[in-house]
């Protein structure tokens, strides 16, 4: 949701939230204090590829992939699948713990991922689910995706966020540091069906299992035999 609003030209600064609270009239009014005051700003909106995003967002490379413009495909060529990059930053959750959830949904179709996440008993699962749902909405509203179920999780990964350091008392006048970690979660949804075997796992069908077993049996070594 945040990104949708940012794309609409609403300025979102991390430091601005307090300022906007002090000036609750409108987002435009508060942005006037930050931007160069120019009467043309509101009446002549900038082109979308130029404006809209805040400074903080510009530093986020992940979201800039959403702004890339690809050249038209020729009639004979296969159409390029649509994708949408989305992220949630500074989630109060350990990046190490989030890694499990991020890897879990990778390579799943969106419906499958949302279904599976319901049964993951981790705090991160909720955040991932929320992020995927937001990305899905973005894909439909902003990136010309026709069917919301026709998406799959092409990329899903975690990075470290802010770490707040806390203090802890130890014996003999010593102190310890507690690290309260935050993480960023990134997701890219792509249009189309997920690949058959994303992680390149060994096949588990009847035929292969039987053949494997047979082979194992044939190559086994019987101790004490010829």
């Amino acid at each position: 949701m945040a990104v949708i609003l940012r794309r609409l030209g609403m300025p979102v600064f991390s430091s601005l939230t307090r300022q906007t609270l002090s000036a609750p009239c409108s987002a435009i009014a508060s942005s006037g204090t930050l931007r160069h005051i120019n009467h043309t700003t509101t009446v002549m909106p900038e082109l979308e590829e130029h404006g809209g995003a805040s400074e903080r967002e510009k530093t986020r490379k992940w979201l800039t992939y959403n702004d890339k413009l690809y050249p038209p495909t020729k009639p004979g060529e296969t159409p390029r699948p649509a994708f949408v990059c989305h992220m949630k930053e500074n989630i109060k959750y350990s990046p190490k713990k989030m890694w499990y959830v991020a890897c879990f949904v990778r390579g799943m179709s969106i419906d499958e991922a949302l279904k599976q996440l319901e049964f993951v008993n981790r705090k991160g699962a909720l955040v991932v689910k929320e992020t995927i749902l937001e990305a899905q909405q973005l894909a439909i509203e902003k990136h010309n995706v026709e069917f919301k179920s026709n998406l799959w999780v092409a990329e899903s990964f975690v990075s470290k966020g802010v770490t707040v350091k806390g203090m802890r008392r130890h014996a003999r006048m010593r102190a310890g540091i507690i690290k309260y970690r935050y993480c960023h979660y990134y997701v890219r949804l792509e249009e189309g069906k997920p690949p058959e075997n994303y992680y390149n796992r060994p096949s588990r069908d009847k035929e292969t299992l039987l053949n494997d077993w047979l082979q194992r049996m044939r190559y086994r070594r019987i101790v004490g035999s010829l």
């Binding site: 413009l69 390029r80 981790r122």
Partner: protein, 323 residues
Amino acid sequence: MFSFRAIRKIECCSHSVLGTCGSLGINLGGVRTTIAKHWNPKFKKLRSQKVLKVELPDYQELNKPFNEFTREEIRSKMKERGILPHRWWGDRPFFIASTGSVFEPYVPPEGDGKVSVITAQGAKQKLEFVEKKGKSMMALRKIRNFEEDFNYKEFVKIAEDTYIRGHQAMINKDRDKIVQFITERAYPEVVNNIGDKTVVWEFVSSIEPPTVVHLRCTDVITKENIFAQITVRFHTQQILAVYDRFGRLMHGSETIPKDVLEYVVFERHMANKYGRWRIHDKIIPDWMPPKEPSLRTYVVDFTDDEPQVPSVQEQPSSVASTG
């Protein structure tokens, strides 16, 4: 001894449920089986004193966009910090280089034709034509006050050139050029939604030469400050194809030219010596056949949610207009 542990276990579970997922009712924490805490609760306080309390920032809440707060939330937060609501401090922007609308717009006749003069309808139309033509002549005289050698022949050439170059500036997303050929009133409409699209547009030919159908003048604030608007009828062949961000065709075709009939309003600030004729608006008649539907389908949202106004005070609309 056992009971203490059991109670603690339950506490732990219920806390994790309420604390993290609230109404969803999923146990996210799991049940702890090994507890490395002393069984006697009298040390609980001492244990908690070992860790200094840190107020952890909730970045999800801090970075929430302003619009997502409800009025009540804003009010309570401001009250918490003792901030009084600001006075609305918005200047109403307006341009003096162009007007905010089309005055006395041209009404294209049904089917772009004329009704027979013998019928009552036809006679009425004829009378209207005469009346309007009179007004147009008055406007023409006013234009000639500023520009002595104004004639239709020359103007139509400029209009066609502006039309083509304006469209080219639009598809090239050249902001500096766009304002040279398009007025500030039309600018938001032109620029809307083109940021992430690739537009292929080509002017093939004119089927009929462009003609001036309507002229109007108006003065703003002072008598000498005159704006002129001229409606030109274009009957042309054009190619239009719109591609989305990924280069997939959204609308039109790059190969099939289409006949386009348009009534384009050009405006010029006559009092400005260096003013130029720019596209101000396009007149879309009521009788125009419906547009070609887009290639993709949409899910229509029928929920009638009223948009929430995020402000505490009423805000005046900041629409461009002239005096």
